[in-house]
């Protein structure tokens, strides 16, 4: 493994790197938002990004499936590889990349259509037309999202009629229907009730055997509970770019972090 210069690196877990980020800097026009990011995201693990508001964790997350491309004037320096392939390289189709690297947002955002059509949306877009095949994909995705039992008899109902927590799991099923390798979750539990939070957290533990998960969360306890590795981001001074301060095994970050700033943040001394 290449040594990481951008962050103190406590004892790392074994396993192949899914994403490898090296010397990444990110700019919104003239504004230098992120600097010197180096991180290996391990395959089939849950990685949590934590840090105070405005520390660049969501910006960094969006670099991983090129969602920032959609904002005019943004650019990156450095490299991000997914399974060894440069995702910003020539010939990479951002739409295909976003199929492989799916995203879940803070606010559940089902399409205004039936539960079935929500889940079938992606596969249809990728050319799957046969009803039998679609039925199978939809059922499987809903089962993986632990929603099947609750919705199997109401598949024609609108996705927006579900509760907030169910809507979030519907969105997860929608992403899973296109067989992603990675799931990026940006504050996925901030807008749902505690019981649903528990379900989404359980789901993450189940899904990580087949999908690599990266979660941005303001809730440190959630990061501690669900993740295998944790990255702490910080923008030290207003106007300066955010940095990755420390990255390592979650258990170690939460018992004996190497960097004083990490310790101050997780013990509630700032942020």
């Amino acid at each position: 493994m290449t040594p990481l210069s951008g962050a103190a690196r406590p004892e790392a877990l074994e396993g192949a790197a899914k994403f490898t980020v090296r010397d990444l800097d990110f700019y919104y026009g003239d504004f230098h938002a992120l600097t010197g990011m180096n991180i290996d995201v391990r395959e089939n693990s849950v990685t949590a990004f934590i840090g105070p508001s405005g520390c660049g964790k969501s910006t960094f997350l969006r670099c991983l499936n090129r969602m920032n491309d959609l904002i005019p004037g943004t650019r990156i320096d450095g490299t991000i590889t997914l399974d060894g392939e440069d995702i910003y390289g020539p010939g990479v189709d951002p739409v295909d990349l976003r199929r492989r690297v799916g995203m879940i947002f803070q606010q559940p955002n089902p399409f205004p259509m039936s539960i079935y059509d929500n889940v079938a949306f992606g596969p249809r877009l990728h050319g799957i037309k046969k009803k039998e095949e679609l039925d199978q994909i939809v059922e499987q995705a809903l089962m993986r999202a632990n929603l099947w039992k609750e919705v199997k008899d109401i598949m024609e109902r609108g996705g927006l009629t579900l509760s907030g927590g169910q809507q979030q799991r519907l969105c997860i099923a929608r992403v899973l229907a296109v067989q992603p390798d990675v799931l990026l979750m940006d504050e996925p539990c901030s807008a749902i009730d505690p019981t649903s939070v528990q379900k989404v957290e359980d789901l993450m533990a189940e899904l990580k055997s087949s999908v690599t998960i990266i979660i941005v969360t303001h809730n440190m306890q959630q990061a501690a509970r669900v993740s295998d590795e944790t990255a702490f981001f910080l923008q030290e001074r207003q106007g300066e770019p955010a940095e990755l301060i420390e990255f390592g095994r979650t258990a170690e970050i939460f018992t004996s972090p190497h960097d004083r700033r990490t310790e101050d943040y997780i013990t509630g001394r700032f942020g």
Partner: protein, 227 residues
Amino acid sequence: MREGYRNELKAIKAEVVDIGRLVIEMTRDATVSLVEGDVDLAERVIAADDQVDVRVLALEERTLETIATQFPVARDLRLLYSLAHVNIHMERMADLAVNISKATRRTAERTGPRTMYDLIRAQGNLVHRVLEAMLEAFETNDLELAYKLKEMDEPIDHLFKQFFRELSRLQEEDEIEWASSMVLASRYLERIADHAVDIGERLVYMVTGEFEAFDESVTDEGEPPAT
């Protein structure tokens, strides 16, 4: 719900029980080594202690990490908190078994009065019974059995006192030196049983949430601990 966390709680407890089995074995072997003058067996007990130390340390780290990342509350918190204590008791008991084995090193070349061997043997058997009961109670959360531990411990204390009476009858100086090592070993056995009684108290807290002292025990004897 939270299956990984639940499994980890079970695994941590299972590891404490497993260490407990090793400690029982060490105590039994240490006692046998003493009464039979078997230095090889004593050396094996001393070597096993390294294994206990490594496992106890690893378990402590694992417990701490679970507390830090999973935020246990109520009975889960009592379980982890108690296991951390029990873990320390196990480590001390293993150290005491090592002390007995070291007494074997000092005494193996000589012999002494038969009554002292008989006392150690009897005490060893009683301690073994207490340890087995402690581990069974701990493994199955059997409070009834936990409450019996103090009662089972009493004859062990009496045997220890009897040792002093035997000691006062000795005349020869080298015999006294030999007998002092045996008295110390008897004291270590007695303390191992005290640790087992303390584990019983922890078990009561773990299950009921009530702190309860079973009369006198390791922590309230009013004299410095032997380790």
